[in-house]
Subunit: 659 residues, 2 copies
């Protein structure tokens, strides 16, 4: 509380107080400038560019000769042209190892996930053959292992089952699944082409963690059918109906199935645990599912156990993907459902694919272009839908294995694809005796990794509100439905953002003694009030949603300030300084607010001073301020320090002249 304002001048010392402000004005007070003039078109252009092309995809073309530009353009569309020419035998060796590793995971998981989507198991294998080839040409991630994934399979299966029974009307169900895949692809590619990729950003990390954990539990619950050997399983997905159905049908439990299930589940979990402890032993968990399948198939075959109540996959047709474009439905009574399913599975699988791609790109320090990836994944699903594949994306668990196994390029996807092709052509008879219970165990082991308790704990520690969002997603998914849980969580997240805007923080600033730094009084204990001044900082854009609140809140700050005893004694309030440094935008309501505040304060004999309006804000104030009331040079300053120094010297000059 230094009453002598000269502590703000720093460089000059020992000047007489009366001429203080002038001296400051001459030497140090900096004018707030208006930002350079730009036309309406320029502004619109830069805003559109920042919205739709934040990555400035054309900048690599700048200043290049025409031929080079064509090459760059071709490389932009087909990333394979970028790394293809430099591909070497050494890279190929790495890719073969990783490709074979993920193939050993993809075959059992493909069969399992297709069953999760209520589709014929062979569709899961088809989906591990064509899409990886498409992605290898178009995709820009080097680590993504492409194929069917658990959550998208679950959602597709459960949504389509609302209208069509997968058991009674198997062909129609498959047709709807392929049509949904087409729409998912179309939607994904359109998002990329229209550069609307930021839509998936609205699924926050907290939402996804809650959603994934909930979905993992729902998926695991569905596996109780095969793990317990129940024949008549409920068609509902929620926690309550599934558990009640399971415990009302204890008579259908088969001890042989349960025994086998427990054994393989333990085996797979131990393998997973080993690989998690020692990342170098990634092949233990990567190979375990295939080993389990082979082992269990042999056991069944040896003991003829299918006759003892253990259900098996049954015959799978040999041969490559049959064409399926004639199976796509673009009209008919189920079109609405198909489009909705496509939209939701599309956005969910896109989110997973992009997140996985970005995670590994960050580890290896290369860039993945979100919008380009969306086009790649979208085209992959469009092609897939006409070659008997259902919705695919980059799978997290398989991509991690791919990365750990040393994948260098998308060739590992090609190797996987070729391996699956060989299996499709020659190995199908071997799966005839594979028991469903092992597939259930494989799914459970895969989805357990989606329950990320350390991440949930970190969220709890950092941000309680995000934790609530996570919990809503989780509880919504397990108690209501997968789609509703997601919608609730996204809704709450957006509501939080809107609430932050509607009730922005206003804080009182105080001077940190010996400096011209002004900081939050309630945060920095050493900060002190300046007598005669109330310095407020508004920490949000000012717009229609908060102008009324800010008006009331600021007037109340003034009242509170006037009421406080200790202030009364020293000096009455003369200036309210509004620090606008954190006000990134303003609209017409905000401009009116400032005008109204100024009028209201004038009636109390208080002057409103604005500090550091940013570019856009300054521009709008200037346009609104024809009478030069808001932006007079004596109530507009570049820093709080300069405002306080200059204004307190004017108070002093006044009081001296009165004496």
């Amino acid at each position: 509380m230094d009453p002598n304002p000269s502590h703000n001048t720093g460089k000059t010392t020992g000047l007489d107080p009366q001429s203080h402000c002038m001296e400051i004005t001459a030497m140090e007070v900096h004018r707030v400038a208006a930002p350079p003039a730009r036309t309406m078109a320029q502004k619109l252009g830069s805003r559109l560019k920042e919205t739709f092309f934040p990555d400035d995809p054309l900048r690599q073309f700048k200043g290049q000769p025409t031929r080079k530009r064509w090459i760059l353009a071709a490389q932009y569309v087909f990333p394979i042209l970028q790394w293809g020419p430099n591909y070497s035998l050494k890279l190929f060796k790495s890719d073969v190892v990783s490709g074979l590793t993920i193939a050993s995971l993809a075959i059992p998981q493909g069969i399992s996930y297709a069953k999760l989507a209520n589709l014929p198991p062979i569709v899961g294998l088809y989906s591990s053959f064509v899409p990886p080839l498409v992605y290898a040409i178009l995709g820009s991630s080097r680590d993504l292992a492409v194929g069917p994934v658990s959550i998208a399979s679950l959602i597709m299966g459960s949504m389509l089952r609302q209208e069509v029974s997968p058991t009674k009307d198997q062909l129609l169900f498959l047709q709807l699944a392929l049509s949904s895949t087409f729409f998912a692809g179309l939607f994904q590619a359109s998002l990329g082409l229209l550069r609307l990729g930021f839509i998936i950003d609205f699924l926050s990390k907290a939402t996804l963690i809650g959603f994934m954990a909930g979905a993992a539990i729902i998926v695991s619950l569905q596996q109780l059918k095969s793990l317990l050997g129940i024949a008549h399983f409920t068609k509902q997905m929620g926690l309550v109906p599934v558990l009640s159905s399971v415990f009302h049908q204890t008579n259908e439990w088969s001890w042989q199935t349960i025994l086998m299930g427990v054994c393989f589940l333990v085996l797979l979990l131990v393998a997973r645990h080993v690989s998690m402890r020692r990342p170098k032993l990634f092949w233990v968990s990567a190979g375990a599912p295939l080993v389990s399948v082979i082992l269990s198939t042999l056991l069944i075959f040896a003991f003829k156990a299918q006759r003892h109540g253990i259900s098996v996959i049954g015959k799978l047709p040999e041969g490559l993907n049959p064409p399926s474009w004639n199976m796509l439905h673009f009209h008919g009574s189920h079109l609405g459902l198909v489009m909705k399913t496509g939209l939701i599975t599309g956005i969910i699988s896109l989110t997973e694919g992009i997140a996985v791609g970005r995670t590994f790109a960050a580890l290896k320090n290369y860039q993945v272009d979100g919008n380009k990836e969306m086009i790649a994944i979208g085209l992959m699903n469009i092609v897939g839908s006409s070659t008997s594949c259902y919705v695919t994306t980059g799978a997290f668990s398989r991509s991690a294995v791919n990365h750990n196994a040393g994948a260098k390029t998308a060739v590992s996807n090609v190797v996987m694809s070729v391996t699956v092709m060989v299996a499709l052509l020659f190995l199908m008879p071997l799966f005839q005796y594979t028991p469903n219970v092992v597939l259930g165990a494989i799914i459970v082991t895969a989805v357990i990794g989606l329950i990320d308790i350390p991440a949930a704990y970190a969220i709890w520690k950092i941000d309680r509100f995000d934790f609530v969002v996570m919990l809503c997603a989780f509880l919504g998914v397990i108690f209501i439905s997968v789609q509703d849980g997601l919608a609730i969580a996204v809704g709450i997240s957006l509501l939080k953002i809107l609430m932050q805007i509607t009730r922005p923080k206003t804080v009182i600033l105080g001077n940190i003694p010996g400096t011209d730094i002004y900081r939050n009084l309630h945060h920095y204990e050493e900060a002190m009030r300046v007598p005669g001044f109330l310095i407020l900082s508004v920490e949000a854009p000012i717009n229609f949603a908060n102008a009324t609140y800010l008006n009331e809140r600021i007037l109340r700050w003034i009242e509170d300030h006037e009421m406080e005893e200790d202030v009364k004694k020293r000096s009455s309030l003369r200036f309210v300084i509004l620090d606008l440094s954190a006000v990134s935008a303003i609209d017409t309501s905000g401009v009116s607010l400032l005008k109204d505040l100024r009028k209201a304060m004038e009636k109390k004999g208080i002057e409103l001073v604005l500090v550091n309006p940013l570019g856009e804000v300054m521009e709008k104030l200037k346009r609104a301020d024809e009478g030069q009331d808001l932006l007079r040079p004596d109530n507009l300053y570049l820093t709080v320090g300069e405002a306080v120094a200059c204004l307190s010297s004017s108070i002093k000059a006044q009081s001296t002249s009165h004496v």
Copy 2:
């Protein structure tokens, strides 16, 4: 970077360059403090308080004796107890003059607006009798003139007409209107009681201006029926269907009606113009409608003009409001429509009432408590619905007249109410010959004031986006429907806020020579880059919706910076300073962003430095930062100036030691 970590702790004052940073440290570097610890409950409490009780309604009770508290509480609920005891004859004289003035306006407008709502004209008079009495007891505005208003009447009439014909099923229509009024009141009072008043803030000024102008045009179009004397008028509201219907029925136009309409319209518009030019002559426009009614009634009576095709109101029942609680519908097939109508008319009339109250409160420098006003208006409508009144609120035009006529307290509403009562008891036979065409002219004159072209021009000048919102509301109302136009405008306004969050601005700061002020390089021409530094300011809260964008954008700023020739020559980039002064909040995604950025930059040999994280941000970073990576003392500063000073001295020290 600096192998010697002691530069943050030293306290020496030498000036040789090597120890420069130490010297700064001793003299100027300030630590970023963590905000004072608060428990979860305290934080939740203060956030809830700021959301629902931003006006801190209980603060006047603090430190008062119990008896005084009871008095204050009673005064809080019934504002009449505040001003009642000091009421004087002088105040009463003013209130009588203004009360009689608004009564002369209220009687013709009440009849007209009831016709606009497709209700019997007498309901408009009933609605000008009971609600003003209720408001006089509960309301806190001294200028509000209460009664039916044009836009709420229009919306109620058009919404209910979707399901019930006002001509064929007159009684049911009235019952639905009264029930809607009840729900409107219930909704309004609940908003106030639940302190959710901020919901009406989402109707921005721009939206309202566009909406009002559109509604004024729709209302005026409806008056073509009575102004042209058309008997078979379309039941649609839009611009196109009304105009096409009017010009397809030129055979129904009645020249007598048109002549009379034009004459009175000119009379009323001239009166309005006179009063606008000279506010002292407010009584000219205030008296003109009643004069027109009397004059036209005499004319009709004298010339027996009702036989020449000029339609008249017809007989009105004498007597006060009949009770109507038995007419309220709380079940049945129209309940959904009734509740929806109540909701929309409730929110629209609330918005008008609160806005009018606040406008005049600001002029006379008193406070109007939004939530309390909502309860008052809500109760007024609930009481109204059981005494044959339809939805009422504070009308803008009549309140302005009230204010100009010198109203001092809500007693002017009581005087108006008593005058209406006298009219209801004794003057009803006189209205029998009042022509409908004059009522049409009165409505057109009243709603013309809702088209505020200067305000629209001001919005165009200040904020083009707000202008677009306004235009959407306007065009939506006149071409689609009143409700849809409003919904579209609110949707666009909210989308704009979300887009601002999704694509926040990041600006490069430069040093203003000779100071330690850092400002936007592209705004302040004198600002200069500091070699070796890239100083970025993020101007929005960092959350899930923008973390991905910010990550890409910041990395691109770094790339751009490294590409620029002139920077290359001088020195390579060593530090990226993120000024977080404008980052008002952060969530877990935002925290991850900062961690990811730090990792990505480390790989390029660049250090990430944070400046001035605000309270909440600092707190979350601290909780997230167990490894002390983000918040090491050498990469966290209170001001950009200190960060640059300290870090550039460390570069210098290093380069000197290399030499």
